[in-house]
Amino acid sequence: MMTTVTVGLGSCGIAAGANKTYEKIKALKEQENLPFELQKTSCIGMCYREPLVEITDDTGTYIYGDVTADRAVEVIEKHINQHDPIRDYIVYTDLFEAAENDFIQAQVKIVLRNCGYMDPESIADYEERNGYTAMKTIVMNKLSREEVIKTILDSGLRGRGGGGFPTGMKWKFANTNKSEQKYVICNADEGDPGAFMDRSVLEGDPHSILEGMIIAAYAIEATGGVIYCRAEYPLAIKRLNIALRQAHEKGYLGKDIFGIKGWDFDIYIKEGAGAFVCGEETALIASIEGERGMPRKRPPFPAASGLWKKPTNINNVETYANVPWIILNGAAAYAKYGTEKSKGTKVFALAGKIKRSGLVEVPMGMTIKDVIFKLGGGIKNNKRFKAVQLGGPSGGCIPEYLSDTIVDYDSVNATGAIMGSGGMVVMDETTCMVDVAKFFLDFTRKESCGKCTFCRMGTMRMLEILERITNGKGREGDIEKLEELAYQIKDNSLCGLGQTAPNPVLTTIRYFRDEYEAHIGHKKCPAKVCRPLLTYTVDEEKCTGCMVCLKNCPAKAITGERKKPHLINQDLCTKCGVCFTKCKFDSIILT
């Protein structure tokens, strides 16, 4: 067989220099007329080892990690020319123990089934991997709308955007509401900081989303489709456009699609302008309609009155990506994975203080600890695992002692966090939980659309309290005021943004109240993050009087003579920490 060399060209790969790697390999191949086929693919999930290059030859498949353009020369020379794979650089192969084998092997890939395994810009590649077969099966077997919906219902698939509402139910409602016009919308407005699974699918397997939407359109008799994709995903939009063109050419979109007379269905892309709240379905619909992206009261739900007040089914990217697989493999095959109430797999974006940051797809029911340690490789720099933020700014912190919690909707909710779209931000002992809460609240505060009083004003006031706490100006009663505001905001907001915005604060207060108290009562940040609460002093025993710290102090807060212990003037100290990093004798004490 022909040897193939495939370069991962997802956003993560490109960011790590994969374009250069690709160009280099292409140049080498052309210069020396090398005997391999050069291909492109997208993210395989191992973002922490990008750029990734996969070589498949007679002997098997090898994935090389960290293949910069320079290293590419070495890899091509050794592997292609000398048939001598460089074991040290190989991160995954099934031929021998490689560094990241367990990362791949422990996963179950349904959503990401094609990502990293094919050229996302090729409909042929997709079809080769059973693409559009699901829809064709429906046509061939003359499955009724109700049968399709029943399959989705039976699979137990729940909305992967965060809400976890049974997808089949949504479809059923949209199908029941009769109208001459109906719509399917794909919510590709992925906005949680630290979440990028949707982007990965959009970039790596756009056709699976189109197919999922076409199946949904079939099931509810939709007459139009919209993908609402954030404009910050240019590569995703580009590949979606290519996929749409290809699907048109194939007759999968447009008039009389899949050979069904009178079935006209088309999909348009609407680029979102970067407002987080537009991920909320009613705000998203308002935005498509050309209005200011602000949510409105539900009911009516979009299934009854959505886009242009017509029945509308709206699912997110990951949900649609599951659909063709379920149709092809059957509800039972899907329901085999997961727990009683949460079926199938879930993609997580691992980020923060974790060794392997990237995408993983795991069956529901795996413990958080396993995701972090088995797949994520544990905590960076061997620090102590402290907590994980699940569900982005709408979610909450789950502390280390609850890390046996399994990933399913209900178990996660019980901790006060939410599954959300699957962002997992891992924190270690050097993370200040008040600071984390402040970070997420600052995000939601900025992203509040400004409509509801509680969300608009309340998040601002909460943030101000958190700011004063981390600035050492916290007062007695601040925790209670935060809680009072938090519960009021949750109870009195129109959309998910407001209803969940206080979650990071509430969960950190719930699990790390002592840290809040330390900030307020003792004016100390236990994780040593909040600058105004830090004190740098000199350990007189250890100080050699080398004057390095004195010379480097930008605030001229350090005094002392050569060979005598120095002194830090606390009134002048700006807590920049330069002395701490510059001291070679560990004589600066940070408290």
Binding site: R445, S448, T453, C455, R456, M457, M460
Partner: protein, 1234 residues
Amino acid sequence: MSDNSLNIILNGTIVKGYPGETILELARRNGIVIPTLCNDDRLEPFTSCYVCVVEVEGMRGHQPACSTKLAEGMKIITDNEGIRKSRKMALELMLSNHYADCLGPCKQTCPAGVDVQGYISLIEKGMYTDAVALIKETNPLPAICGRVCVRPCERECRRNFLDEGAPVGIDYLKRYASDHDLESPDKFVPAVKKSTGKKIAVIGAGPGGLSVGHFMQIEGHQVDIYEAAPKSGGWLRYGIPEYRLPNDILDKEVKNITDLGVNIFYNKKFGENLSYKEIRSKYDALVLTIGSQKGTGVGCTGDDAGNVYSGIDFLKNMEVTGQRYDFKGKTIAVVGGGNTAMDCCRTSIRCNAHKVYVIYRRTEKEMPANPIEIHESKLEGVEYMFLTLPKTINKNEKGDVESITCIKMELGEPDASGRRRPVPVEGSDFDLGVDYVLAAIGQKTDVNFIDDINTNAEGGALKINKWGDLDADKNTLQTGIPSVFAAGDGVTGPATIIEAIAQARIASVSAHQFVMGLPIRPAAKPFTSKRDNFKKQLAQDYLDKFEKQIREEMPTLPAEGRMNFSEVELGYKGADVAHHESQRCLECGCTAFFNCDLQKYSSEYNARQNYFEGEFREYQADFRHPYIEIDNNKCILCARCVRICREVVGANALGLINRGFDTYVAPAMGEALQDTHCESCGMCISTCPTGAITENVIFKPGPVKTKAVESICTYCSVGCAISLQTVNGFTFGVTGRKGLVNADGNICRYAKFGYNYLNDTSRITAPMLRVNGKFETINFEKAFGIIKEKISEVNPNDNAFFGGARLSNEEMYLIHKLARLAVKTNNVGSFHYLGRGESYRKNCEYNVPFSEIKDASLICFIGTEINRDHAVAGFMAQNAHFVKKIPQVMVTVKENNSLSHKVNQEIKIKSYYHFIKAMNHFILSKGLENGLFLRDRVEGFEEYKKQLLALDFHDLLKEAGIGADELGNFAKTYNNEMNAVILFSEKEISGAASKELFNLAMITGKLGKTASGLVAVREKNNSQGLFDMGVSPHYGIGGQELADAGYIARLKDKWKTELLATDETKCLHGIVQDGQVKNMFIFGEDPVGCAIDRSYVDSLFKPVEFLVVQDYFMTETASMADLVLPASLPAETGGSYTNAQKVIQQFQAEMKPKPGLTNLRQIAGLLAAFGHKVSSNPIDTFMEVVTLFPENNGNEKLRLCITLKDNHHRKYRYGCDAVMKRFEEEFERKITKP
């Protein structure tokens, strides 16, 4: 209905709800109040304020009542602790970013809470008596306070921040208004409530006691004041010298109070010749306003010397004895630095003292005296010895004072009062030779009646506090004896007059509650938003934001002329000065104060403004639009303005900018509002629940509490119900009222902003006769005589009468009666319709009611810019377009059309008449007509069809300026719609074109069906009345032909006459054009001013020998008249208007007619001059009209009408009405001003 009704449990009670209904609607229907700020019934639910939250069983969190729809079995709780907590927090969160003042610092600072900003606004308008009425709500002694108040208000006045450095002359203005009122024959007399039978005793007739008298007496109680001195006023008379407060002013204000029924008994010393025992037996309550009467000595050795007096005794003695001291050649030392010291030193000067020293131990800066007093005393020659303390008073051999040994002081550390404590400088002693020493150091309360009261009290005891003053509850001023209350200096120790008055009011409220058996509660403190809660207000916040305006200073007696007790301050010289000074008010308080929902709910929920501290946004108010101002500081982001502008007006002129905390409302693209699609309708103002969007008025807006005068708009023919917000005849603004036509209470810019003419002081208020080219005022009798004489001199048909389309039905009717009955001519009509009216006669027949526009499936505008000219009907179309997505098509000849941006499709043509004819041609030639409708309902079809189809279609298209395809498509679309409605206006559509429109509606079978057919609007409020009231040479009441003998017979019978105008009727237009009219009478029209072709109109007037014009102002037509009659306003007259859809709406006369006689009385007067006695009462007149209406003929068939050519003969703009013209011109001028 019962089939689909829902069972709901609302607060534990089972009630019926309906599908689609919201919780808020259900609650309202059941009389349960749920607060809301973002909801407006006119708009789709939005849900942002979260003040309307309720609990619904089974639903997470709270549910907003405004947008939660009912569902079967819902269990709703609308009020509990949790709900109240959330509502309160919502308010507090909003308030934490509400950088605004509810009240100006003047009112906030005034101890008595006198509404300074309000009365300044009234003074600005010359409404002095109303200003006094407002002041007297809280302060019954304005003329006194206008002279001697210490003016804490002026200290806080923000004018101080500006570069002229002086506050508004608040006190001077108050004095000006109250002096004016005191002298006025119609001075303010408060209403006294019905007697309660309760009796109140008051001890002391000082400012406190007098105020109690005022406040309690008007509540219906009998107040008796007992005064120890022989005269009233207390300290006002015995302490304040006459050069500051003349006794006659005091006497007049006291008389105002005794005139209410208050008795004052003099020479009654409580505890001496008046025992509490007696009081207790006679009265239901007692209020002690005893003052603080006892003077204190100098407090140094030797202060028992002769000629050493306490200052107050010195002042009092003079008043009691009526004798002035003779200080000729004497040297006087006044010790102290307060206002009493000022009174003593300035009085001493007036007693001819040789030298007067004021000895004060601190510096001038620390002096508590009013700076003006210090200034004036220096002018008068008083010498100051600051930082000086008397140590010993040295006596001569007679024991009288000879000199004072003083010691110099220097200022040390600040003491408890914040003033720096003076400390003696060792060895700085010196002697000052003096003849008299007046100690103005302080006063004490004299409580020698305490034993008497406590001996005789039953239950409780009056106590004295540690300062020696009366002990009373500080909130209610009730003493230890439940029926005894105390107020003023006797409670507080020596303080100010205004504080005594403030306390008197509190004590009065409490005493009132006590005698009425009510729980004694201090008045609830309403929520008040303050900018100072966010940051201390500084000069930089105000500098450069206002024009500089130098204060009108108080004119005073020249210093050399002051050796007497004449009043030094002379008062403002005239109304102009007061007006000018009133203009300096910066209007710090919110103009929406009396109707702000945020303030109302914040008070109700005890919301605190600074519960949440933190960032707040400060915005510059946007005054760019001439009528609408936007102050984002007050905005709570309910988006009602944004939504009403979009959902109802369709202008989309306002939007929300930014996100989250940084969100604010601004005109689209940051432009000035008038540069957007803004229609200046003021609907945003009408919906704003706070004062964030308000009217930008040309006068001081107050705010003041207004009286709503209900009326009907006098601009266009939609017929909106309005309320004039008035105070004593001055209109402060106009609001919409839920009416028969404008059921939502919507009004447009004409009604909203076109009211300034009502306040114009250049109104004509009396008949005026031209004598030698100049107008002279004459009386009505003479005017009527002249008119009768002129009419008698010519043939009846040499006279012509014109009634304007703005007049009421009753006015029109009497004008037509005057012509036909008294003058015996049928020459009666209107310039408005002159030469074109007959083809419009049927325009209102079979109209689709405005309220059905929303049920249309297609809305077509032919020509009309309905959004501007008949905006409220336009709102109905626009709202239907927004809510139900009903498509709109505009057909227009205009290049730029203000409606274009709102419609789905615009068809540009050249001629409406030909366009419509081409439509009809197309439909008939294609055989698309509604045969069934034509067969059953319409006559003349074949004839019409034959005539029309004889025309060349392409010629019609060419004339219409439209292509065959475009016309065909539109014709088919229109024809195919079940519920197509065409709206058009007489302003653009000629009589012939309107007839063809009716033909179109008939051949397509759309006429006279629900939500289908035509809506014709006329230019003026009562254009229709002209047709109905017989203001026509050919037609009588209800369009009955004068040729109809039956009608004439009825008329003769009704009018009890055998002789009417001859049956012959001529074309009035022709008569006027031919110069046959010798005497012309024009009521409420301005054909000259409104002429489109001025030279043509001038030519009409040339042959006229005697011209009479009745109008409000000297219009261009009136200024040509020989005799001008003053017109009364609708709200002065009463009557009815008939709108474009024949809705007759009546309104009452609620204001006094400025001209003395209403229009109806004037016309009736003229009729009387001819010997016809008629009623001038609008109701009687209307009833007479009703009896003359034609009988309904029932199922008359419709008739297609052949027109041969277009007849666009509009000769006058503005519906020939000077008021309309005036506003449109003002509007254009202001809106286009660079």
